[in-house]
C-alpha cells in the first residue's frame, strides 16, 4: 500500500469512530436519566422560565432533531451555547486551549526525558538494586494521583522553599504579546513561545517558572510507561549484533547507548507518546485544577460547579476530537517512518 492510500484508509476509519464518539457524548448528556435543563437550576424554577431556557438552547425540540442540530453545529465548528450566559461554548474552549496545550507539551517532554533516562539506567544495571529501585519508582508513579503529587510539590517547592509559584500561569498583566511586524500580529497562546516572539526574556523566565511544577507533576506521573518501555527495549536491543559491533569498534559506552541502542527504541516511544495522549489530557484536567492553570481542564471543572451541561458537552467533545486527531497524526507519522506498517 502506498503512503497515500494508507492515509486515505486511515482517514476513512476515523470517521465512524468520531461519529460514534459524538453520539456517545450526546447520549450521555441528553438521554441518560436527568434532564440537563432541570439539573442546571437545582432548585425550584418557574415553568415559564424553564420553558424559555429550553427554547433558548434548543432543548425543547424532539431528541432526534436535537441530535441532528448538534452534529450539523459541530460540522460548522459550533459547540453550542453555554447554559450560564448563553455565549458560544466554542469560543471559550478555543481561548482556554493554548494553556492546556502548553502544559501538555512540557509535561510530555518531561515524561519522555525522565522515562527514557531512567529506563536506560535501569537496563544498564539489570537486576541490581538500582534497577529494582527504578522499577519501583515506575510502579509507584503509576499509583500516585497527579493532584496529590502536585500538592506535595506545592508544599515543598512553593510554600516551604519559595522556589516556584504555587499556581496560575503568569503574573496578572504580564501576558506576553507575541510578535507584531507591520500590522501582522502573531500570537500562539503559548506563553513560552509568545514571550520569545516578543523578545522579552523576563516574561519567558516567568512563564517557565510557572510551568515547572505543573508540568513536572504530570510528567512524573506519566513517566512510568516510558521508563518500562525504554528498559525492556534496551534490554532486547543490547543483545543485537549491531550493538555488539559498535562496542567492538571501541565506541564510547554512552555513544553506543544513546546513538545506537536507543535509536532502535525511538518508534515504540513515538507510538507510546500517541497512546498516552489521552492519559495526558485526563491528567491535565486534574493538574490544571491543582495549580489554578487556566486551561480546558479548569474550564471543564468550573462548568461542572455551575452545572453548565452544554459547556460540559462541548468540552468533552473537544477532548475526544483532539485525541482522535492526535492518534491519526501519530499513525500516519508511524507509517511514514516505518514502511512495514503499510504492508
Amino acid at each position: 500500500m502506498s503512503l497515500r492510500s494508507y492515509i486515505i484508509a486511515r482517514l476513512l476509519l476515523t470517521i465512524p469512530m468520531i461519529l460514534l464518539l459524538l453520539t456517545l457524548v450526546f447520549l450521555i448528556i441528553r438521554v441518560l436519566p436527568g434532564d440537563p435543563a432541570l439539573l442546571h437550576f437545582e432548585k425550584q424554577v418557574k415553568p415559564e422560565a424553564l420553558e424559555a431556557f429550553r427554547r433558548n438552547l434548543g432543548l425543547d425540540k424532539p431528541v432526534p432533531q436535537q441530535y441532528f442540530d448538534y452534529l450539523m453545529g459541530l460540522f460548522r465548528g459550533d459547540l453550542g451555547k453555554s447554559m450560564q450566559d448563553f455565549s458560544p461554548v466554542g469560543g471559550q474552549i478555543f481561548s482556554a486551549f493554548p494553556a492546556t496545550l502548553e502544559l501538555a507539551i512540557y509535561a510530555m517532554i518531561g515524561a519522555v526525558l525522565i522515562g527514557v533516562f531512567l529506563g536506560v539506567r535501569a537496563s544498564q544495571s539489570y537486576n541490581t538494586t538500582e534497577d529494582h529501585s527504578i522499577r519501583t519508582f515506575g510502579i509507584v508513579s503509576y499509583a500516585i494521583p497527579v493532584f496529590f503529587l502536585g500538592m506535595v510539590f506545592q508544599i515543598i517547592f512553593s510554600i516551604q522553599l519559595h522556589w516556584f509559584p504555587s499556581g496560575g500561569r503568569i503574573y496578572p498583566g504580564m501576558e506576553p504579546l507575541g510578535l507584531s511586524v507591520g500590522g501582522v500580529h502573531l500570537v500562539t497562546g503559548l506563553y513560552t513561545v509568545d514571550s520569545l516572539l516578543e523578545g522579552n526574556i523576563t516574561k519567558f523566565i516567568q512563564a517557565v517558572r510557572y510551568l515547572v511544577l505543573p508540568s513536572l507533576a504530570l510528567g512524573v506521573v506519566l513517566s512510568g510507561v516510558f521508563l518500562r518501555l525504554t528498559r525492556s527495549n534496551m534490554l532486547e536491543t543490547s543483545r543485537l549484533d549491531f550493538v555488539t559491533a559498535a562496542k567492538a569498534r571501541g565506541l564510547k559506552q554512552s555513544t553506543v547507548l544513546y546513538a545506537y541502542a536507543l535509536r532502535n527504541a525511538f518508534l515504540p516511544i513515538l507510538t507510546m507518546m500517541g497512546l498516552q495522549f489521552a492519559a495526558l489530557l485526563a491528567g491535565a484536567v486534574l493538574t490544571e485544577t491543582t495549580f489554578s492553570w487556566p486551561g480546558l481542564g479548569r474550564y471543564l471543572v468550573d462548568r461542572i460547579s455551575f452545572r453548565d451541561y452544554t459547556a460540559i458537552q462541548g468540552a468533552v467533545v473537544f477532548f475526544g476530537l483532539l485525541v482522535a486527531l492526535v492518534s491519526l497524526i501519530v499513525d500516519i507519522l508511524y507509517a511514514y517512518l516505518d514502511p512495514r506498517i503499510r504492508l
Partner: protein, 294 residues
C-alpha cells in the same frame, strides 16, 4: 460437568502457582507485598468502628487545623474533625467504588467479549468499533461527563468509572478468544458436534480467566485513582461520608495555611491502596506469562 465446575477446576489448577509465590523471585514478592498492603487496608477498614478514636464525621472534636499531637496523631482539619479517624474510615468509599466498578466491568465486558468474538462477523466488528471508540477517549473526561449526569452516589460513581474501563476487559477477552478459538482441541470439540454454549463456557472461558484476573486487579487501582479524580473535580460523595478523596480535595484550600497533614495522610493512603493492587496485578501477569519476566 457444570460450566462453573470447569472454570473452578482451572482456578484450582492455577492455585499451586500462587501458593509457591516465594519461589517465583521478584514477581512472587511483588504479589506478596501488594497483597499485604491491600489486606492491611481492608482489615483497618473493617475494624474501623472499634479502632477509630473519634466519630469521623463529627465536627469540632478537636481544635481547628491542629498539627499532629499525641491526642490527635494525624492532626485535625478545618472542621475540627480528627484526621486519624477519617483515615481509618475513609477507605470504605474507595473499596466500595472499586469493587462495584470492577464487578460491573466484568459483568459487561466478559460476556460481550466472549459472545461477540466467538460469533465473529458483524457482532464482532460492531462491538469492537464501539469499544475502541470508548477506549480511545480520555478516561477521566468520559467518567466526568457520565458522573455529572448521573449525580452523586457510590453506585453512580462506580458505573461512571466502569463504562471507561469495560473496553480493557473486552480487548483482553477478545484477543484470548481469537487465539483459543483456533486451537486444535476447540476445533475438535466443534467437529464432534459440541454446542457453541458448551464450547464457549467449558473450553474457551477457562482460558480467559487468568488474564482477566490480572486485568481486574490492576483495574482496582485504576478505579480507585479515577474515583479520587472524580471527587477532586467536585463530583464526589456527600460531606457526610468519610472519604480520602474528599479530604484531599478540601485539603487543597488549606495548603496556604501550611496544613500539610490534611492532604498528606489521605494522599498516602490512596497511593498505598492503588499501589497494592498494581503490585498484585503486575506480579500476577508476570507469573502467568513468564516470557514477560525480563
Amino acid at each position: 460437568m457444570s460450566r462453573a465446575g470447569s472454570t473452578g477446576r482451572i482456578l484450582v489448577q492455577l492455585l499451586p502457582r500462587f501458593v509457591q509465590l516465594k519461589g517465583r523471585g521478584v514477581a512472587g514478592w511483588t504479589v506478596i507485598i501488594g497483597s499485604v498492603l491491600v489486606a492491611s487496608i481492608v482489615v483497618i477498614t473493617i475494624l474501623a468502628p472499634w479502632i477509630s478514636p473519634h466519630n469521623p464525621i463529627a465536627i469540632n472534636v478537636g481544635p481547628i487545623l491542629a498539627a499532629p499531637t499525641p491526642e490527635f496523631p494525624l492532626g485535625t482539619n478545618h472542621l475540627g474533625q480528627d484526621m486519624l479517624s477519617r483515615i481509618i474510615w475513609g477507605g470504605v468509599t474507595m473499596l466500595q467504588v472499586a469493587v462495584i466498578s470492577v464487578a460491573v466491568c466484568l459483568a459487561v465486558g466478559l460476556p460481550i467479549g466472549l459472545l461477540a468474538t466467538y460469533a465473529g462477523g458483524l457482532p464482532d466488528k460492531v462491538s469492537s468499533l464501539v469499544m475502541d471508540s470508548v477506549y480511545a477517549f480520555p478516561g477521566l473526561v468520559l467518567a466526568i461527563a457520565i458522573a455529572a449526569m448521573l449525580g452523586r452516589g457510590v453506585v453512580n460513581m462506580s458505573v461512571a468509572i466502569a463504562v471507561v474501563y469495560v473496553p480493557s476487559y473486552y480487548r483482553i477477552v477478545r484477543s484470548q478468544v481469537l487465539t483459543v478459538k483456533e486451537l486444535p482441541y476447540v476445533e475438535a470439540a466443534r467437529a464432534l458436534g459440541g454446542r457453541s454454549g458448551t464450547i464457549l463456557f467449558r473450553y474457551v472461558l477457562p482460558n480467559v480467566v487468568p488474564s482477566i484476573v490480572s486485568v481486574a486487579t490492576i483495574n482496582f487501582a485504576d478505579a480507585i485513582l479515577t474515583a479520587a479524580g472524580l471527587t477532586f473535580v467536585g463530583l464526589g460523595l456527600s460531606v457526610a461520608v468519610p472519604d480520602w478523596g474528599w479530604d484531599l480535595t478540601y485539603g487543597r484550600q488549606l495548603l496556604p495555611a501550611g496544613a500539610w497533614w490534611v492532604i498528606t495522610f489521605p494522599g498516602v493512603m490512596i497511593v498505598l491502596l492503588a499501589l497494592g493492587f498494581t503490585l498484585i496485578g503486575e506480579g500476577l501477569s508476570e507469573i502467568m506469562s513468564p516470557r514477560l519476566e525480563q
